[in-house]
Amino acid sequence: MEVLLQVLIGGVLLGGLYALVAFGLSLIYGVVRILNFAHGTLLAVSGVLASLAYASWQLHPLLIAVLLAPLLFVCAYGYYQVLLRPLSKRNHFESTVGTVLVTVGTLMILSDLTAKAAGATQRNIPLRLEALEFGEIVISTTQLLILLGIALLTVVMHLILTCTWFGRAVRAVTQDPVGAQICGVQSTRMKALTFAFGSATVAVAAVLYVLSFPVDPYMGFGLTVKAFTIIVVGGVGNLPGALLAGIFLGVAEGLTGLYWKPEWAPALSVVLMLLILVAFPKGVGVKA
């Protein structure tokens, strides 16, 4: 029983992190209509960077996140303007395959260069605070803090989306790009900003991730697959839906590891996604 509860807590934690990855991807997909295949890899690379920064300079994880986010924002903004935006002028087939190739190429370059520079080993931030015991169940303070971080980030994202001009514009473009443009939303600028913002959220997610689970340069695409499954289940641009779907996936993976074999857990999300698509071709989640 204790083991089950422990697994459940771990699953919720992992799922919450998946959901954070999905938030950014979902925002980007909703506004820019680009599936960024390198999104998860960005998290893996940021995670490696964060762990290196912690190991070399003993920076506080929070500080790392604060430093990393603007860096990613700027890089992603430039990346979008230089590599992705010109493709949107091409016809449908060409812009689809073009963006796929650009982002997949980025994925390959990022993981290979990171592996060459920092080694292909698994890394994390070994920040260990004292554990809290509730009867038989042991929760580390780190885990609690991460859960808190996930909740906080979700709330902040939700507030940004509902209470700021930027957030409303994001939702408007997600629902109807032309309509938003007619109402004065500069959709080209919005696309670049959303791409940058969605990528910057990865910095926070990466630091939280690397605090509790190890990262390596090649794990990124697996994360992208999970994030995409979450979007399919939760609905594009729907944060609460993504959070629920993420937790569901995390717990399901935990239970697969507990009752079957942990090595099958990575396959779960793909199979789940395919099954869901058979049952609900248009996604299960309510559109935000």
Partner: protein
């Protein structure tokens, strides 16, 4: 004449090239042969990928899965002491079956989602290969019980390459190829002109998978060892795709040229750059995606280079008819063009189409509300009503673009409840769309030929192309015969849309606002066309239109919809006096004033509407 000569020269050059490649392993060293072998394998992979992507428009990023499954199935069979041919056959069979199974969820996806779903198969397969240890030997991989087989592997793959190219030519000349091309352009329209898309999609994926499996099997045989990373790795999976896109997906020579250039470059880089292969592949993939996702063969300068311009020809540029064929005059029927349509014998008394309490609900919105009507054969019926009154939705319910949420549609005594879109089209329901939806990257002639290839009495592409000329002449589009449909003006598109609906050889023609936005002369032409197809060929017509002056010239009666409900049904002159119709169109105040005027001079009231 010139055309024929260049064709012969092409075949000769091709034959000589294949022959030269065939003697290569006997004159060159093992190193050269190995490089040539990887190029051949890359061509099989790239071209078979392009059947799904270039021809059908589905970007299958998981094509490498088929390569991997084929490699594993082959290796397992070979370890089990099966003969080579049987092992290859086994690999093809298993892979095609796998393609059949995964086609069920995959083809529920479109566009980006399809691309993603297929790419996600790669990590899934990798996990399977690592963990199904009893079958796949896990991370250790499988060592094949073979010695040096480079020469036979090379020769077999050369043969398969030639076969792949021939299959490509065959696909492009066959009805199957046109089914793929119609799917690429617009699946829904493809169905409403009679193409059964589901089996076509399944078959092309299985075909593509089969060839991918052969490539995997041959590669495994030559390397005599496989493990999960080499056959399912993300790093290598997209290289064949990038090669095809580099030169031009969907072009006859695109995959071949792209593979030749890039595979050679790749071999050179593999030797000269150490350690950063994945980065390098990534960079190539990225640059191709950024700068030439349409392929360099489609760039403008290529058209001016003599040899390259021949390689850059789009598929439909090969569809040239001989001069004798082109000179053939289209048969005339008096002054009008004689269409190759059967003359439908009038069956008096029986309704051709009968709607019984048809409802269409979208969530809480009732778009069509309990509509019952019956139309006899040979009638021309106008369907009118304000914008948003459910006219187009009613058409969509009949042609099964929507599945009605209630009621029944009976066509020629047959219940259409269980019929699919393409079945309904083949039963004899042709339709136009309000905003014309031609198959944009096909020619005008091909647009008309596709319904002729997929109706009850299907024609071969060659015959369909010939028969299409009558319809094109009828639509006065002969001067645009070989032009791509997306280059047409709005008027021309509407004419094409109407002609394509006629080419479905319909008994019932659903015409959706074909005349709106046209000049009076053009409107008059459609009026005459609609009258002509009824009088001459007995086609029943339902015409949605707002232009009353056009309707009154041809319709036998009109049906009025308002907010999804049928509110009037009768001759136009009576319907325009109907109070509900008047209030629907003009509001109650106008109705009151019209009423007083109408009492004074009944004739003028008709003009108001």
């Amino acid at each position: 004449m010139k055309h024929g000569m260049s064709r012969t020269a092409g075949w000769l050059t091709g034959g000589a090239g294949v022959l030269a490649l065939a003697v290569l392993p006997f004159v060159g060293n093992a190193y050269i042969t190995t490089i040539a072998f990887t190029v051949l394998i890359a061509y099989i992979l790239g071209q078979s990928w392009d059947w799904v992507a270039g021809e059908m428009g589905y970007v299958n990023l998981g094509h490498y899965c088929f390569y991997g499954i084929g490699a594993y199935a082959f290796s397992i069979a070979l370890v089990g002491q099966w003969p080579l041919v049987v092992a290859i056959g086994f690999a093809v069979l298993i892979t095609a079956l796998a393609a059949l199974v995964i086609s069920v969820p995959l083809f529920r996806l479109h566009g980006d989602y399809f691309a993603f779903g297929t790419l996600a198969l790669l990590p899934l397969m990798e996990v399977l290969a690592y963990n199904l240890t009893p079958v796949t030997n896990g991370a250790d991989g499988i060592v094949l019980p073979v010695e040096q087989v480079l020469k036979p592997a090379y020769l077999i793959s050369l043969g398969v390459c030639v076969l792949t190219f021939i299959v490509t030519l065959r696909i492009n000349a066959a009805r199957f190829g046109y089914a793929l091309k119609s799917i690429r352009n617009d699946e829904q329209v493809a169905e409403t002109v009679g193409v059964r898309i589901a089996p076509v999609k399944r078959r092309v994926l299985m075909l593509s998978a089969g060839f991918g499996a052969v490539a995997g099997a041959l590669q495994a045989w030559q390397m005599s060892y496989i493990d999960p990373a080499t056959v399912f790795g993300l790093n290598v999976a997209l290289v064949p795709v990038a090669m095809v896109l580099f030169a031009g997906s969907g072009l006859r020579w695109g995959p071949l040229v792209g593979v030749l250039v890039l595979a050679t470059l790749q071999q050179w880089l593999l030797v000269s750059v150490k350690g950063f292969q994945a980065t390098l592949y990534g960079l190539i993939v990225l640059l191709i995606g950024r700068f030439m996702p349409g392929g360099f063969l489609r760039a403008r300068w290529v058209r001016r280079v003599p040899l390259l311009s021949a390689l850059a020809r789009e598929h439909h540029e090969y569809m040239g008819e001989s001069d004798a064929q082109a000179a053939l005059q289209v048969a005339k029927d008096g002054t009008a063009v004689a269409l190759p349509l059967p003359r439908i014998q009038p069956e008096s008394g029986k309704p051709l189409i009968e709607l019984q309490n048809v409802c269409m609900q979208f969530g809480g919105n009732v778009a069509v509300n309990d509509v019952s009507l019956s139309i006899r054969q040979g009638e021309i019926v106008g369907l009118i009503g304000p914008n948003g009154s459910g006219k187009t939705t009613l058409f969509n319910c009949i042609s099964r673009v929507y599945t009605p949420t209630g009621g029944r549609v009976m066509f020629a005594g047959q219940d259409l409840s269980q019929a699919s879109r393409d079945e309904i089209a083949r039963l004899g329901v042709g339709r136009t769309y309000q905003i014309p939806r031609p198959f944009g990257d096909l020619t005008v002639q091909e647009n008309i030929a596709i319904p002729l290839m997929f109706n009850e009495a299907p024609l071969s592409p060659r015959d369909a192309m010939r028969e299409a000329r009558s319809f094109i002449e009828y639509a006065e589009l002969s001067h645009r015969l070989r032009d791509r449909a997306d280059s047409l003006s709005v008027q021309e598109r509407k004419a094409l849309e109407f002609a394509r609906a006629l080419a479905c050889k319909p008994r019932l023609l659903l015409v959706d606002e074909v005349a709106s936005g046209l000049t009076p002369v053009e409107v008059q032409r459609f009026v005459e066309h609609i009258r002509h197809v009824r009088d001459r060929y007995g086609i029943t017509v339902i015409w949605v239109e707002h232009i009353f002056s056009a309707l009154e010239k041809v319709v036998d009666r009109v049906i009025v919809l308002e907010q999804g409900s049928l509110i009037a049904d009768g001759p136009l002159s009576q319907v325009v006096k109907d109070e509900r119709v008047l209030s629907t169109y003009l509001g109650s105040a106008a109705q009151a004033s019209t009423k007083t005027k109408a009492q004074k001079s009944p004739q003028r009231a008709e003009g108001v509407v």
